[in-house]
Amino acid sequence: MSTNSNPLPSADAIGLAPQSVLQELVQLGGSTKSAFDAHHAPEMGLMDQCVHCGFCLPACPTYALWNEEMDSPRGRIWMMRKGALGEAPLDANFQLHMDNCLGCMACMTACPSGVQYNKLIEDTRGQVERHTERPPLDRLYRQMLFATFPHKNRLKIMGIPLAIYQRSGLQTLVRASGVLNLLPKRLSAMENLLPVVPLNPFYSLPAEVSAKSHKRGRVGMLSGCVQSAYFSHVNAATARVLAAEGFEVVIPQEQECCGALAMHTGLEESAAAHAKQMIAVFEHAGVDTIVINSAGCGSTMKEYGHLLRDDPTWAARAAAFSARCKDISEILAEHEPVNRRHPLPLRIVYHDACHLRHAQQVFAEPRKVLARIAGLEVVELPDPNLCCGSAGVYNLLHPESAEQLGDIKAEQMLSVNVQAVVSANPGCLLQIMSSLRRRGEAELPAFHMVELVDASIRGLSVEQLLHGKRSLDV
């Protein structure tokens, strides 16, 4: 801003007062005062794209709950900006409001200016982890989460006692007794969100499944951590549908976690290590496309390019890898079906996983794929943009706010009067069922979108789909 002694004439009359702009400029150049360290600090250029219009406020789940500016995307970006300008410390308040963000990215869908909030919040979370303290119990709890979820073998081993707990009647007893209310909120939330663990948690898909019709491509498939341990039937259905539709499916057995959990909670080094492993494994597999059936994993893998952007050996490989990642609904939507779809007379609601609808902007595709099934009536929720509160491990870290969001979603689920819920993310389905149970409502049958396509190709009846055993054959 001008500080010369010969200002433009009309400045006197109008009393210009653009404040602290000069200060901003000085710091943009030097950023010496920034509260962030230099490694992947949230970029000022990305923050500048935010014009402060507030269109994100009604889209934000935490703003919907609390109506506070600092728990809105606009407010969080403002806090980041203040941190970058050295006008605010990275203290407990800063940590609180960044932690409160579910990372649902609904704000990105709502934003007219195209602000890349995903990049901003992820870089900021890394800074929060490096520069703020957490109470010992919180740290321990987080370490426990990171010691289990990203490890499919540990999840599988845990599956044995869990299966006994669930099938011996103990779980029913425990839930009815109210003893869970005595546990700390986070632990009782964890129990409430347990999936029904399969009896054979050690099942895994073969390394390769050949195309069952005229070959249209060779794709790699992510098997995932939670998905492969507790939702193996979804993986099996994914492989069956892909094979039936003419894809040779490669499922590298050495693949590990995609790093989503680490990336969404600011553990950048861990996320980067997972990403490199994943990239190397799939490069070796020699596939055109990597197919993903879990929304959270998909959004993470599509962001590897950003995560490894300044790693000279990995940046280009990561970007190329991310460009080849597709959600299962994307690949099915863009290829005309070769198998007949048998009718499936059923009224379902399609619940958008935020990491698909907002983070990947994939919402037309699953609907297009489901619309090919005759008789299937797909209804929409009153507010499909609102997060259910699951958000990765958010419901384990912030059970109170997650429950409030779950309650809103459960209410909406009940209002549409359907026979089943369909989504592309196991976390959402567990969250929704837990919310229904908390209200004393019966659970709804829950499916991954690909399970319906599979049932339609195989000609299952509604009865078989709803009550039959979920097949693991490929």
């Binding site: 801003m1 001008s2 500080t3 200002p7 433009l8 009309s10 400045a11 006197d12 009359a13 109008i14 009393g15 210009l16 007062a17 653009p18 404040q19 602290s20 702009v21 000069l22 901003e24 400029l25 943009l28 500048d48 794209q49 935010c50 014009v51 402060h52 219009c53 507030g54 269109f55 406020l57 009604p58 109506n67 506070e68 500016e69 600092m70 606009r74 407010g75 403002w78 806090m79 203040k82 006008e87 605010a88 410390p89 203290d91 308040n93 800063f94 409001h97 934003c111 007219p112 200016s113 195209g114 602000v115």
Partner: protein, 495 residues
């Protein structure tokens, strides 16, 4: 007229403690880095840290907070969603910001009498959502309607694209509950939604008073039946003159479209990038919406298209479905916010001119753009002559923000010179108070000031807005403002 200086800090720790007992620990924000998120609204060029923010949940809490402000002479500033573009909810130093975002319930819907009773934190779209299924809508539709709240709409007398036919907020508010700057609670207009009440039209005085006369805590709004038919036409012109002439021809023929909007090339590019509405690329895009009985709309649309053709429209496109129409409007309404895609910074202005002056004023604006080297994008409600020129600039280029602000004020003066006004719907707020004296003479301003003082003798309700003051307008300032010692002492605050 002299006025007491609101600057001293009466918000002492003891007063803060009292405040905390009134709204509870979850209703009070007093930490520095949390307060920073309230230091501006949709206009970020002006920023002031508030002393505290409260988020009350009831009228009684608002009244308690305002009473406390009155008792200790602490200034307060009401805030809704903070989307305002004139700095209306910009805090005053050491003030309490009263955020109404938690007063967000729809209290009753009475369609037999076409009215809805709401709290001020309900969004503008939220009102329509509550009555849409029954075939009703709330007519005022500012572009930020999905976000902005009814309380803010009342404060600014918000308009929108469809106000050409339906009128501004003031036409649609049957009554409102207001907490006066003394802390007293009263109803302006009718609590029961009776259309006309005897005596002074205090609701009329209050609506558009920009938070200087009190805080609205409830409103009874009029909702309207959705018209039988709606048709939306997009027409592409090579010249703004052609589009402007079409607007004049339509009005002259006796038609009253529900909306007539114009967008220029830069706005089209930005909106298209944000929303992919499929707008034709052209110099001036005219959007004409007709609503009413089907036969009438059909007949009038033929005439509208003839005017478009006569004035050189090379493409005319009628939205075929509700979804297409929604997309056309989504693009138009995202146009301001989408400017972030074509320019790092911008200032949205809000001038009004007589419709007939449109081609002349637009031509002059082109010249001003060329003279200053700054791009001006234009989106406007062409039907009622409400311009929204956006001056695009880059804050990182030295001196450019100054030049942009000067240009934006020069545009307002151009509007006044053309027989118009400095604001159509965004309000004066902090941003335009210094051009108030260009539009009004001193006796006019003094009369308005007397009205204000009748409501707020202590000058604590949004004190530094609307009226020009030497403290904010008289001094030439660059960088951080340093008040004159005489002002700082509270002696000379005159206008």
């Amino acid at each position: 007229m002299s006025e007491p200086n609101p600057a001293p800090n009466n918000l002492t720790p003891a007063v803060l403690d009292e405040l905390r007992t009134l709204v509870g620990p979850h209703g009070l924000i007093a930490e520095q880095n949390q307060l920073q998120t309230y230091e501006c609204d949709g206009l970020t060029n002006f920023r002031t840290m508030p002393g505290a923010v409260v988020l009350p949940r009831t009228t009684a809490e608002v009244a308690d907070v305002v009473s406390l402000c009155a008792k200790y002479a602490v200034p307060f500033v009401a805030r809704g969603a903070g989307t305002g573009l004139s700095g209306g909810s910009l805090p005053t130093e050491h003030c309490i910001v009263i955020g109404l975002s938690r007063l967000n319930r729809i209290l009753s819907v009475d369609l037999e009498n076409s009215r809805v009773h709401v709290e001020p934190g309900v969004t503008n779209t939220g009102v329509t959502s509550a009555v849409k299924a029954e075939g009703y809508f709330y007519a005022p539709d500012p572009s930020s309607q999905t976000v902005c709240t009814i309380g803010g709409n009342l404060a600014e007398n918000a308009g929108g694209a469809h106000c050409l036919k339906y009128g501004f907020t003031t036409t649609h508010v049957l009554g409102c509950e207001v907490v006066l700057p003394s802390g007293e609670v009263m109803w302006f207009g009718s609590e029961h939604g009776v259309v006309d009440t005897p005596g002074y039209d205090l609701a009329g005085v209050f609506i558009g008073s920009e938070g200087t006369l009190g805080v609205a805590t409830r409103a009874v709004l009029r909702v309207l039946r959705k018209p039988e038919a709606v048709q939306t036409l997009l027409a592409a012109f090579d010249t703004t003159t052609g589009a402007a002439q079409t607007v004049s021809d339509i009005i002259a023929s006796g038609m009253l479209p529900s909306a007539m909007e114009m967008m220029d090339r830069i706005s089209i590019t930005a909106a298209e990038a944000a929303v992919h509405a499929g707008y034709p690329e052209c110099t001036a895009l005219l959007l004409v919406e007709l609503d009413g009985p089907l036969a009438e709309v059909n007949a009038q649309m033929v005439q509208v298209r003839e005017f478009c053709t006569k004035n050189g429209a090379w493409e005319q496109r009628l939205a075929q479905t509700d979804a297409e129409r929604a997309l056309v409007w989504k693009g138009r309404k995202a146009a301001f916010a989408a400017m972030g895609r074509v320019s790092p910074n911008y200032i949205v202005q809000d001038g009004v001119i007589p419709r007939t002056a449109l081609p002349r004023v637009l031509a002059r604006m082109d010249e001003m753009s060329a003279e200053t080297g700054l791009r001006i994008a234009n989106v406007f409600h062409a039907g009622d002559g409400n311009l929204h020129p956006m001056v695009l600039y880059d804050r990182t280029i030295e001196g450019e923000e100054d030049r942009a602000l000067i240009l934006s004020y020069d545009i307002l003066r151009l509007c006044v010179d053309a027989g118009g006004s400095i604001t159509g719907e965004h309000g004066v707020g902090r941003e335009k108070q210094c051009v108030m004296s260009y539009q009004f003479h001193e006796p006019d301003l003094a009369t308005m000031q007397r009205v204000r003082r009748a409501f707020d003798p202590q000058n604590i309700a949004n004190p530094e807005k609307l009226f020009p003051t030497p403290r904010l307008c008289g001094e030439r300032r660059h960088g951080a403002y340093i008040p004159h010692p005489v002002e700082a002492a509270g002696i000379a605050e005159v206008f």
